[in-house]
């Protein structure tokens, strides 16, 4: 269906190619997973399928790509629109119209499909994706999962034979991501569509893949059946890493297969995992929140939450979209609304503690730092160095000695080494941008640090790195709170897990207790090794080392 014929892609400003000598054939009806570290060229690879690379992006394409017999050299993306459907990470950014029905029809209008056919296909697609009740709704009011399903539907109406999805679930919570992935697998099985899918969180999709394309940092690719490629790949889901660690053959890709292979391992391991990162005993509480209430009109976002945050610990705040996580974080920081309750943060020389909401913004950030969901909202200068200088000025602004005194640029170098200070902040990778904003917030040296969904768009390596950074910050005596959907990430970094639902705390306890208690919040390792209480592959490795003679 898709033939890459010794394809090499080079962008005009760069000396070395992004992709080198890609030579592979994707058969009709396959689901091909595209994996690789961020920045390795996954988007470029997907872009070559419908000619966006190089027609849209510029650059040079050597070799040839043919889709359904059409050569992308002669066919521009628009000429392939009837053959290849493309869905991007952020569905909202790709919508041309503003209601569901019009968006579904847009592609067909461009292809000049007859009105009666359009009408029929729109109805079919609404049913296929289960969004018929949303037909008149404005797109920007839909939930993320609904938006992504509409975006998929909008390309399906032209009946493409190839579907290209570039990290379609990266902005979604686990439930919404499941919905979208279920939709995609159904399309493969019911309609025989060929699917190319790039995805960070492999644990969700690897079991559905027929083949995997792994893109390496040097631009070379490996292509083959999942078990074969993942045996050596740089990125792998926990289930595969555990399989590699235990030396299972064939490599399991699903929990079910892994549990079958794990019978022996479960017997060898002690029932309780020793927790290497969880040696930090809980410190004294630095932030106390009593009966915090946040409302938006008649909707109660946070309904009387009581929570204490201890120094030196990482707390994961979990819960589905709209459960009030963000609202709680903003209320704790003092910048967001808080309609009732008290928040007190310990401050040196203030025996009763201070309420950040009552302080000027510049003072509040010295007590509680918050990294919002879109960290770029905080950036407005045109180089990393300028942002850092500005951050130093802001930290020095209040003029007392409670700031860290460490320049932001130095903090940044510690958090993410090797960032060019003259780079434009928007040109950094997601992980680097996060590090920059983190460095800016750390100049104020807040004892409490809150992060709202920091793992969005990060690959395994960046998440690993972020986890280590957060661990170091906590070890330095800070209280760190991470709101996240990412169970695997929480399993790696958290000492304590709080689960919110409908504005209330519904569970609060040590990470091991909470994350092994329910299947919804259990990481893959815990599912495989239950009833033994292990959360991460590292814990298993440590335990194995200590038990083996």
């Amino acid at each position: 269906m898709i033939r890459f014929d010794h394809m090499t892609v080079t962008y005009s400003e760069q000396s070395s190619p992004v992709l080198r000598d890609v030579d592979l054939l994707v058969e009709e009806g396959e689901l091909v997973l595209v994996v690789g570290p961020t920045g390795a060229g996954k988007s470029t690879f997907l872009g070559t399928v419908n000619g966006l690379v190089p027609h849209f992006s510029g650059g040079t394409l050597a070799g040839r790509v043919t889709v359904g017999g059409r050569d992308t050299r002669a066919h521009r993306p628009r000429d392939l629109a009837d053959l290849v459907g493309v869905v991007s990470q952020d569905p909202l950014a790709g919508f041309v119209t503003d209601t569901v029905e019009e968006e579904l029809a847009y592609g067909m209008e461009q292809l000049a499909i007859a009105p009666d056919v359009m009408r029929k296909r729109v109805e079919e697609t609404l049913d296929l994706l289960g969004v018929a009740d949303l037909r008149d709704r404005p797109l920007h009011q839909l939930s993320g999962g609904q938006q992504q399903r509409v975006a998929i539907g909008a390309v399906l109406t032209t009946h493409p034979r190839v579907l290209v999805l570039d990290e379609p679930t990266s902005a979604l919570d686990p439930t919404a991501a499941e919905e979208v992935l279920a939709t995609i697998t159904r399309l493969v099985h019911d309609l025989g569509v060929t699917v190319l899918l790039a995805e960070h969180r492999l644990e969700r999709v690897v079991q559905y893949a027929d083949r995997i394309v792994e893109i390496h940092r040097n631009g070379r690719v490996t292509y083959g059946p999942p078990a074969l490629v993942l045996a050596t790949s740089a990125v792998a889901p926990p289930v595969v890493e555990l399989g590699r660690l235990a030396g299972w053959e064939p490599l399991p890709l699903s929990i079910r297969d892994a549990r079958r292979s794990a019978r022996h391992l479960r017997q060898r391991l002690p029932a309780e995992g020793r927790e290497p990162v969880r040696g930090r005993t809980g410190g004294t509480p630095v932030l106390r929140a009593r009966n915090v209430v946040v409302r938006y009109g008649p909707t109660v976002a946070v309904g009387g939450v009581e929570v204490e945050l201890d120094a030196g610990r990482v707390t994961a705040l979990m819960g589905r979209n709209g459960s009030g996580k963000s609202s709680l974080l903003w209320a704790l920081q003092g910048s967001g609304p808080r309609h009732a309750g008290t928040v007190t943060v310990d401050a040196p020389g203030r025996p009763g503690g201070l309420d950040p909401a009552r302080l000027p913004a510049g003072e509040a950030r010295r007590l509680v730092g918050l990294i919002p969901q879109t960290p770029t909202d905080l950036l407005y200068l045109d180089t990393v160095a300028a942002e850092c200088r500005q951050a130093d000025l802001e930290a020095a602004g209040a003029g007392d000695d409670r700031s860290s005194g460490v320049p932001a640029l130095q903090l940044l170098e510690e958090l993410a080494p090797g960032i060019d200070p003259l780079a434009h902040p928007r040109d950094l990778s997601e992980g680097q941008r996060l590090a920059l904003v983190l460095a800016i917030q750390l100049t104020a040296a807040p004892p409490v640090l809150l992060l709202d969904e920091p793992t969005r768009g990060l690959d395994y390596r960046s998440k690993e790195h972020l986890g280590a950074v957060l661990g170091r910050l906590a070890a330095g005596g800070r209280s760190v709170v991470v709101a996240t959907h990412d169970v695997e990430f929480a399993a790696k970094v958290a000492d304590r897990v709080i689960v919110m639902a409908a504005g209330d705390l519904v569970a609060d306890g040590s990470a091991v207790d909470i994350l092994t208690a329910s299947p919804a919040y259990a990481p893959q390792v815990a599912k495989i090794l239950a009833p033994a209480h292990y959360l991460t592959v590292d814990q298993v490795a440590t335990a194995l080392r200590s038990t083996s003679p």
Binding site: N50, L52, H55, F56, P77, R78, A81, D82, V86, L92, A93, F95, V96, T97, D98, E101, A105, Y106, G107, M108, E109, Q110, P115, M118, R119, V122, D136, R137, P138, H140, S143, G144, Q147, V155, T158, A171, V294, Y296, T299, A301, N321, G322, W330, Q333, S335, P360, A361, G362, A364, R365, P372, Q373, T374, D377, L378, Y380, E394, G397, Q441, A483
Partner: protein
């Protein structure tokens, strides 16, 4: 069956009525027009936000009337008031020499005030007609009638309408995030700190949108063959020459009628032909096009009826349509024009009722939805609808 009437039908109806109004300053007739407009708008507007526009146009109309009357009273030029009824005298202020010829203050006469009032009412009534069209016609649907040659323009406007509410959210989000860096308050600094992130976001969004549009077949239009392109360009230049000749011709008394109007008409026709030919390069279809059937014809004809009657002068005298204010007389109601205006009220009955179920926020582009996005946990501050 409820459906939305074709927006062009509403516009023709309203503009027909406006053109008819331009022939008369009879306050009774104008009052009748306002009543007709009010009736139709009240009966046939939807719940969409633009449907509220009529009220603002009524304010605008009142403002125009007020400006007319106030300017006439304050800067009135009635030198000789011998035959007039002077109500009172404003203190006359002597003006410096550079303002020679302008009279500030002086007598305020009944004749002058009524004359200004009638003229103002006529203009206000025309504005009200435009307001009725704004309230009744769906502007997004109206965009669909743009000729093919302006296809890109239409797409850009559609994109703008789609993106505008997201930008408002983006501004709120960035404004809130500033506090996290310890920056609060609104000063000139705020402008930069809010504008730049929002702008960068918006520009990045535009690039992603462009990629999506390309992938979905935007601009999949064959380039017209060279002869057609040359012909199109030729028609457009010729048309513009005609329009140019026409507009300049209007300025001169001798050519005003003989040259100007024919040139304007020809220029318009040729330009439109050029647009139509240029639009043929765009090949695309329309999803659920607005039908044009009986009710549309009915609405159009009912709007054209007063136009024809008032411009042809059937059944009324010039005095009947434009009552004298010097000397002041009671305006009478000319029967035939009044009936014609009443015909224009028919759409209140003959046009289909609009959908009542339209979600008002569906089209609420800039109507603020205060801070609801703060409650959502979704990406980029987007709104999560509570189930």
């Amino acid at each position: 069956m409820p459906r939305n009437l074709h927006p062009v039908a509403w516009w023709i109806w309203a503009l027909g009525l406006a053109a008819a109004v331009s022939r008369t300053t009879n306050p009774v007739l104008l009052g009748l027009v306002l009543a007709v407009l009010g009736l139709v708008v009240a009966n046939r507007r939807s719940e969409a936000p633009w449907a509220r526009a009529f009220k603002y146009y009524m304010f605008l109309a009142l403002t125009v009337v007020a400006i007319r009357v106030v300017f006439r009273s304050v800067f009135g030029g009635d030198i000789s008031t011998t035959m007039m009824h002077v109500w009172f005298r404003l203190p006359s202020v002597p003006l410096p020499s550079w303002a020679a010829g302008v009279q500030l203050g002086g007598p305020v006469t009944a004749e002058g005030t009524f004359s200004a009032l009638y003229d103002g009412m006529m203009l206000g009534c025309m504005l009200a007609c435009v307001g009725a069209a704004n309230a009744l016609a769906n502007p997004k649907r109206a965009l669909r009638v743009l000729p093919g040659a302006l296809y890109e323009l239409g797409v850009a406007v559609v994109v703008a309408l789609t993106v505008a509410p997201q930008l408002v959210e983006s501004v709120q989000r960035v404004h809130r995030a500033r506090k996290l860096r310890g920056r609060s308050g609104l000063g000139w600094h705020a402008l930069r700190e809010i504008a730049i992130p929002v702008l960068q976001d918006a520009l990045e969004r535009s690039l992603r949108l462009a990629a999506a549009m390309d992938s979905r077949g935007y601009g999949r239009t064959g380039a017209a063959p060279t002869p057609v392109r040359r012909l199109t360009a030729g028609l457009m230049v010729t048309g513009m020459c005609g329009l140019c000749l026409g507009t300049f011709g209007l300025l001169d008394a001798s050519t005003s009628r003989t040259v100007a109007l024919p040139a304007l008409v020809t220029g318009t026709v040729v330009s439109v032909a050029g647009l139509a030919l240029g639009g043929r390069r765009v090949r695309r279809s329309r999803y659920r096009p607005d039908p044009w059937s009986g009710p549309e014809w009915g609405v159009v004809l009912s709007g054209l009826a007063p136009l024809v009657v008032l411009w042809s002068g059937v059944g009324s005298s010039l005095i009947g349509l434009n009552p004298s204010t010097f000397p002041l007389t009671w305006p009478s109601l000319p029967v035939v024009p009044a009936l014609a205006v009443l015909v224009a009220a028919l759409p209140a009955v003959i046009s289909p009722p609009p959908f009542r179920a339209i979600d008002p926020s569906r089209c609420a582009a800039v109507t603020a939805r205060p801070n609801r996005s703060e409650g959502a946990d979704t990406g980029s501050g987007r709104l999560e609808v509570p189930a």
